[in-house]
């Protein structure tokens, strides 16, 4: 029987004139098939003499030859040391304490070396070690093995020996001295007392010399303010663990503000103890890590922030400077009152690039008598002077500068007026750049001196006053390099080596308290600073008055910031950092302008996902004071203050970079006068940008059981059952908690070790140090932008970021539960996909949950994944045949598949494709091949080695001795790993805590990773 039913695939087909239907009718595939790659070259095809039969013959022959050859084992050579160094035992790791000081990141760290190769960065856990390692510090070990490092010094682009360079520079210095020409040392902040001494010696020898300190990302205004009040060029230090109320005005206290490293102290106060936790109020324009973690976030333009700061100043000091009304006046006033009420337990910080604002910060904290505010032991890791740099560029253009010697800076890339600098360079008689890479600056100078990486150098650092750290080499220099300090010694006619000089200096510093050996062993030494600082009385009132006059200059306010993964951009050729997804936007391999939804609608900017899930965004053009930045991709950022846009520095580098890593746009060109806030004009440009964003969903859709959270009030007053709800299922028609129901026979795990990982969602700031530490420990490959875009990222550990769709996550849950009826539900849920304008944010690190009843294990056809008694879900790579059933059956989506061979493959030209980059691989962990599944192993190589160590020493494993890469990297203490069968261990106690819950508890997987309910102090 004939049927007149018409089948249709989309509503478009109902429209007769639709062009889409017409296009689809003629094309089977929506996207073009890339046939051109192999059929494009017609000439080659027609001239080729290979027939189909020949081709088959070749294939047959080569298959047979390959299989025959495969039967013969290769001959493997082993080459032992001729003289084995005493401290090296092949197969056993050595740890060295050292300090990173690259001008942007400063931290006391430990370096794990194997057979003399540094392979991993660990936190230095001695008490008083300064600032935990962030993601960039963890990744810095890979920058040592950067194959594009400057391997040899160059004079005008030609390889030269140190003797040539020395002769040339010595002659130039003599010439400068004779003619009275100016000699300038331009360095980043080195915070190195011994280098300061060397530079002083240099200036004494060359009276026309001066030292200019230049920070690519400037803190010049805060430094000026501190100097005005306390007479020292430094930054006040803060200890957030001592604060009950933290108010931040535009300071990303969990990011790179003042050099970062505040998360450990901050997280201490964020874990509810005895019914108390700190309250954090963040006033800002971009959505920052600090804003995402705040209890109350008030989005504001920079101008409004300045006004708000004056208002707070009024409340705290009782002044009455008149200010215009701001958008969230009420919230600001409330914050000011809370801060005042907290008095000594309150603290206010600001990241505004304005001297007056920074003066008010000091005034407010002094008025509060804030315990968290430490002007007596200020931070010394930012010294840059924007005015001096501006003057230098002027001098260079005027031809006043005779010799310019630079170390650790890349002004041609980082200066906003880079063109002026380049013009100036051409007028300088002698220009020298000490550089790790042949970067933009090293290419333009007459002499480029190859310098060693910090892991190859000696050095000292004073991170805060009274804290003296040592940098020691962990490997012999890989290339023919010369350290800046060695050069200074040579040019001041000092015959000592820098090591001897440093040893004399360091020994003198720690004399009386420690020996040189102890100093090098610990990595740092603390001299107590007892003298309290009074501080001068500066006219704060007029500063407030001036600040209250701040006006919006029209257009959108551009706020430049640094990304957690990239910082100031000096490690831009580091594939780990490029692939690291930004904690907030979850976008890797790019920088972009963040725009509020309202502004985006006004400007016609869009974000949308294409068929394969990839995120696309419009291009825009940003103009600041006549400087145009073209083709800046747009991300619509929930929480971005209306009237502001954000753009990250550190991208868009081209020189000494692998092709794949030349991504993003250079925002330094808009960094006029080194102020992070600029007045910008934004317009839509043609075309769409393809992002590599690892998270497609933005909200939790009201699923409050994924990230359980509550408020401090409920947490304190109500029973755990009310705020940490255990899901129920029906068993024999009775409501039963899922924790009590089991369709499997449980394995008895009471004997031996049973590993659990605890993640406290209150302490996790989303900083991502664990992601890079996991990368380094487990030889996780880098797959590149286009693969990440296809959701083929390989990170074993991801940090999910969720926005609330209503004002709060609680509102989402209520909305979801209130939805009824089909249409209502559809509308409600569609609406819930969009984040709110100023959402709550939550972070959740997710790795393999090591389920005791793992869904992946039951579906593997070859039993490649199985369970161990110690709770780990094992993955035998050699057994895996790549069916990917396990990944499909994993409810947590934590399994990663090797779609390609990611090592020794020129298609993936990252560190695993060159001999140098492969030096960073951990020899205890297998490098996976194509076609196998991989996932978090709960660092079984680390737990096994801890057990073996105990066995060898014939003792029990110590309490809290077990560590995994992520827990060891977590400086905020959010991740705690250990043996729950050891009742004394920290993790066993955390497992019994009221806040403990498992992810997706209702499906009964019984994971060995558990979370702690997030408590908000609203």
């Amino acid at each position: 029987m004939a049927s007149n039913k018409k089948y249709w695939k989309s509503v478009e087909e109902l429209n007769e004139n639709s062009s889409i239907v017409e296009t689809l009718r003629n094309n089977e595939f929506v996207e073009e098939i890339p046939t051109d790659e192999f059929l494009g070259d017609k000439d080659a095809l027609s001239t080729s003499s290979t027939t189909r039969r020949d081709f088959l013959k070749y294939v047959g022959f080569s298959t047979a030859a390959a299989s025959l050859a495969a039967c013969e084992g290769p001959v493997i050579k082993s080459i032992p040391y001729v003289v084995q160094p005493e401290e090296i035992i092949p197969g056993v790791a050595d740890f060295y304490a050292t300090t990173i000081a690259d001008g942007f990141d400063f931290a006391n760290i430990l370096i794990k070396t194997r057979e003399g190769r540094p392979i991993k960065v660990e936190n230095n856990n001695l008490p008083n070690a300064k600032t935990g390692a962030n993601a960039r510090v963890h990744a810095s070990v890979l920058s040592l093995y950067d194959s594009l490092r400057l391997k040899q010094s160059k004079i005008e682009g030609k390889d030269a020996s140190w003797a040539d360079v020395d002769a040339k520079v010595t002659a130039a210095l003599a010439d400068a001295k004779a003619k009275g020409g100016q000699v300038v040392l331009l360095t980043g902040t080195m915070a190195s007392p011994s280098t300061d001494k060397l530079i002083a010696d240099f200036i004494a020898k060359n009276p026309t010399a001066k030292h200019v300190v230049y920070d690519a990302v400037s803190s010049s205004d805060a430094l000026d303010a501190f100097q005005m009040v306390y007479g020292e060029r430094a930054l006040a230090d803060y200890d957030f663990s001592k604060a009950d109320v933290i108010v931040s005005v535009g300071a990303d206290i969990l990011g790179d503000w003042q050099g970062g490293g505040y998360d450990a102290g901050y997280a201490q106060g964020r874990i509810p103890k005895n019914g108390k936790m700190s309250k954090h109020i963040q006033i800002e324009s971009n959505m920052s890590l600090a804003g995402a973690n705040a209890d109350k976030r008030i989005p504001m333009t920079v101008t409004e922030q300045k006004h708000a700061l004056v208002k707070i100043y009024n409340v705290i000091t009782g002044a009455s400077v008149s200010t215009p009304k701001v958008a969230n006046e009420e919230a600001v006033m409330k914050a000011a009152q809370q801060l005042k009420a907290a008095a000594g337990k309150g603290v206010l910080v600001s990241g505004l690039d304005d001297v007056n604002a920074q003066l008010l910060v000091l005034a407010i904290n002094r008025a509060l008598n804030a315990e968290a505010f430490n002007p007596a032991t200020p931070r010394l890791i930012r010294k840059g002077d924007a005015k001096a740099v501006a003057q230098l560029v002027k001098d260079m253009k005027a031809g006043v500068v005779h010799t310019l010697i630079m170390n650790g800076v890349n002004p041609v890339y980082t200066l906003p007026n880079s063109a002026d600098f380049v013009e100036g360079l051409s007028k300088v008689k002698m220009s020298v750049a000490f550089s790790l890479k042949e970067d933009e600056t090293a290419l333009k100078t007459k002499v480029a001196v190859a310098t060693p990486h910090y892991l190859e150098s000696w050095g000292d650092v004073s991170i805060v006053k009274g804290h003296y750290s040592i940098t020691q080499p962990t490997i012999r220099p890989l290339f023919d390099t010369k350290q800046f300090q060695e050069a200074l010694l040579a040019w001041t006619g000092n015959p000592a080596s820098y090591y001897d000089f440093l040893k004399a200096h360091g020994t003198a510093v720690v004399a009386g308290g420690a020996t040189w050996n102890k100093l090098v062993h610990d990595g740092f030494y603390v001299t107590p600073v007892t003298a309290a600082v009074g501080g001068a009385n500066v006219d704060f009132a007029s500063a407030a008055g001036a600040l209250a006059q701040a006006k919006n200059l029209g257009g959108l306010e551009l706020v430049l910031y640094t990304k957690t993964g990239m910082g100031d951009g000096q490690q831009a050729n580091n594939p780990w950092l490029q692939e690291f997804p930004d904690p907030i936007t979850r976008v890797s391999w790019d920088n972009y302008v963040t725009v509020s939804k309202k502004d985006a609608e006004k400007l016609g900017l869009v974000n949308y996902n294409v068929a394969n899930g990839g995120l696309n965004g419009s291009y825009s053009t940003i103009e600041v004071g006549g400087v145009k930045l073209e083709n800046v991709p747009v991300i619509i950022q929930p929480g971005q203050a209306v009237g502001t846009i954000g753009l990250a520095l550190g991208y868009g580098r081209k020189e000494a970079m692998k092709q794949e890593m030349q991504v993003g746009v250079n925002a330094y060109t808009l960094y006029a006068n080194m102020k992070s806030d600029q007045s910008a004009k934004v317009s839509k440009a043609n075309g769409d940008h393809e992002f590599a964003c690892v998270q497609l969903q933005k909200t939790l859709m009201g699923r409050g059981d994924i990230i359980k959270e509550t408020t401090l009030e409920i947490f304190n007053t109500k029973d755990a059952a009310e705020w940490n709800i255990v899901p129920m299922v029906s068993l024999d028609h009775k409501e039963t908690p899922t924790t009590k129901v089991d369709i499997w026979d449980s394995f008895d795990r009471s004997v031996g070790h049973h590993f659990n990982l605890s993640i406290d969602l209150n302490a996790c700031t989303g900083c991502g140090a664990c992601v890079i530490a996991c990368h380094a420990e487990n030889n996780v490959p880098v797959v590149g932008k286009s693969e990440v875009r296809r959701s083929r990222d390989m990170h074993w550990l991801r940090i999910d970021r969720y926005y609330s769709s209503q004002d709060t996550f609680k509102g989402d849950v209520e909305l979801k539960e209130g939805a009824s009826g089909l249409m209502n539900s559809i509308d409600t849920f569609t609406g819930m996909e969009d984040p709110s304008e100023n959402p709550q944010v939550a972070f959740q690190p997710v790795m393999c949950q090591h389920c005791n009843h793992a869904p992946c294990e039951t579906v593997c056809p070859v039993a490649a994944t199985s369970h161990g008694r110690q709770g780990q879900n094992h993955m035998a790579y050699n057994r895996c045949v790549g069916t990917r059933y396990c990944a499909n059956n994993c409810p947590y989506k934590v399994r990663r598949f090797n779609w390609f061979l990611y090592n020794k493959n020129s298609e993936f030209d990252y560190h695993m494709n060159d001999d140098l980059g492969r030096m960073v691989l951990n020899p205890d962990v297998n490098v996976r091949s194509r076609g196998v599944m991989e996932k978090c192993s709960l660092c079984i190589q680390m737990t096994q080695s801890t057990i073996l160590k105990a066995k060898r020493e014939g003792r029990l494993v110590g309490k809290d001795e077990f560590q995994v890469a992520c827990s060891a990297a977590c400086s905020s203490g959010a991740m705690v790993f250990g043996d729950v069968n050891d009742k004394e261990s920290q993790v066993a106690k955390l497992a019994e805590d009221d806040r403990m819950y498992h992810l997706l508890e209702h499906i009964g997987t019984k994971p060995n990773v558990f979370y702690h309910v997030k408590v908000r102090n609203t």
């Binding site: 993955m875 057994r879 297998n926 066995k951």
Partner: protein, 424 residues
């Protein structure tokens, strides 16, 4: 490690004492020299050789160079002699790079005389070469005679065949002459056709052939990548037999990292030099039966070590020119297996021979075990965990053995069969 004793040492001592007793009864000169040899070996040999300079100069004929009374003084305390301003002593001291010789106040004058007597003996002419030549000649003779016997046998057999043919021919002729007709054999089916017609037989033999084929193919496939018996030629002929066997050196003296590390480690060359600084040529007995190569061969191999480590034998100095040795790796596990020596050597207390076989008998190092997963797993199933005196195992062993109802747990019961214990 299993104690690898020198099984010949007892008989050697016996022989030596016999020689001693005999020499006592004969000439007094011989007596001096024999006693002197023993004293020389225990006191002087660490720095001196008879015919070659080592740390100290060669000593043969030293009595011809210096007078005996002076030598007595020098040996007893050379530094004092030098201090006293003895011109000769200072000259000798300076000639030898100012190396201070240990004082031997414990040696009596008689002892020193004996030692000097030993150093005055004329150099023995090597006889080993002649003896060796004789042996090869003997072996060659044996070869010729064997061939001869075989040749003769072949000729005899050929003659027999020819004779039989001849007899058959003769008989046929006789039969023909007597008119006897040989019975004509009825032509039957050729056997292969008969076989092909019998379907049962065909079926059975096809099955048998398939099974046999499968057996061999399986066997072939299973040995791919298994290098049991792998015995590569190394850049330096290092004999484990001489070192671990005849000299009884502990395995972990050289492979020291086996105690604490995942790898047992190929000893670095400075470890070799601990002994070979002194032992610069093969010192086995000239007529020893336990070595497979000549003295010159072994001494040349020691020279290879010196070349690699940059040791100048005559100047007794490191030249600084090194040439790392590229050993051929014998035992090699695939990358996806994690094996830790210290777990097996230090914790479990296994003998190295358990996996590596009788290394102390191997002239060339050979892979003794298949190193397959089945082989590992079998051992884990059979071997009890060594828990004695190890605090780590105390509690877990008690609880687990109760659970499994056994006295002693095997490695497998302890979790030694879990995938993730070796594969990560």
């Amino acid at each position: 490690m299993k104690k690898v004793g020198n099984h010949k040492s007892f008989s050697k001592i016996l022989l030596f004492s016999l020689a001693l007793v005999l020499s006592f009864s004969f000439t007094s000169n011989a007596q001096d020299a024999a006693a002197g040899k023993a004293l020389f070996n225990s006191n002087c040999a660490a720095c001196h050789k008879l015919d070659a300079a080592m740390t100290g100069p060669a000593l043969r004929g030293v009595t011809e160079r210096h007078d005996t009374a002076w030598l007595h003084k020098w040996i007893k305390n050379s530094s004092e002699l030098i201090k006293s301003g003895d011109a000769k002593a200072i000259k000798v001291f300076e000639e030898n790079d100012k190396k201070v010789m240990t004082a031997f106040p414990q040696l009596s004058d008689a002892d020193i005389d004996n030692i000097l007597a030993y150093t005055s003996q004329p150099k023995e002419e090597p006889k080993a070469a002649a003896a060796g030549g004789g042996a090869t000649a003997g072996a060659q003779e044996g070869g010729v005679s064997n061939n001869l016997v075989l040749g003769v046998l072949a000729v005899v057999l050929a003659m027999l065949v020819a004779m039989l043919l001849f007899v058959k021919n003769v008989l046929n002729k006789i039969a023909k002459a007597n008119g006897i007709e040989a019975p004509v054999k009825e032509k039957s089916l050729p056997i292969w056709i008969a076989f092909a017609r019998n379907q049962f037989l065909v079926l059975v033999s096809v099955i048998v052939m398939l099974l046999v084929g499968a057996y061999f193919i399986y066997g072939y496939l299973m040995q791919i990548g298994v290098d049991q018996g792998y015995e590569p030629i190394q850049p330096i002929h290092f004999s484990h037999k001489i070192h671990a066997g005849d000299n009884g050196i502990d395995c972990k003296y050289c492979h020291s990292s086996a105690r604490v590390s995942k790898t047992s480690g190929i000893p670095s060359l400075n470890v070799c030099m601990n002994c070979h600084k002194n032992i610069n040529e093969f010192q086995g007995d000239a007529d020893s039966t336990y070595v497979e190569h000549t003295k010159e061969f072994y001494s040349a191999e020691i020279q290879k070590l010196y070349d690699a480590v940059g040791w100048d034998k005559t100047a007794q100095k490191y030249t600084g020119k090194v040439k790392p040795v590229k050993w051929v790796r014998v035992h090699n596990l695939p990358d996806f297996v994690y094996f830790n020596h210290s777990q097996h050597v230090s914790v479990a207390g296994l003998e190295c021979q358990k996996c590596h076989g009788p290394v102390e008998t191997m002239e060339i190092m050979r892979q003794h075990s298949p190193l397959t997963m089945g082989w590992c797993v079998n051992c884990h199933r059979e071997t009890n965990v060594n828990v004695e005196g190890n605090e780590y195992y105390k509690k877990i062993h008690e609880e687990l053995s109760k659970k499994y109802g056994v006295d002693k747990l095997t490695a497998a019961q302890m979790g030694g069969l879990e995938c993730g214990k070796c594969h990560y």
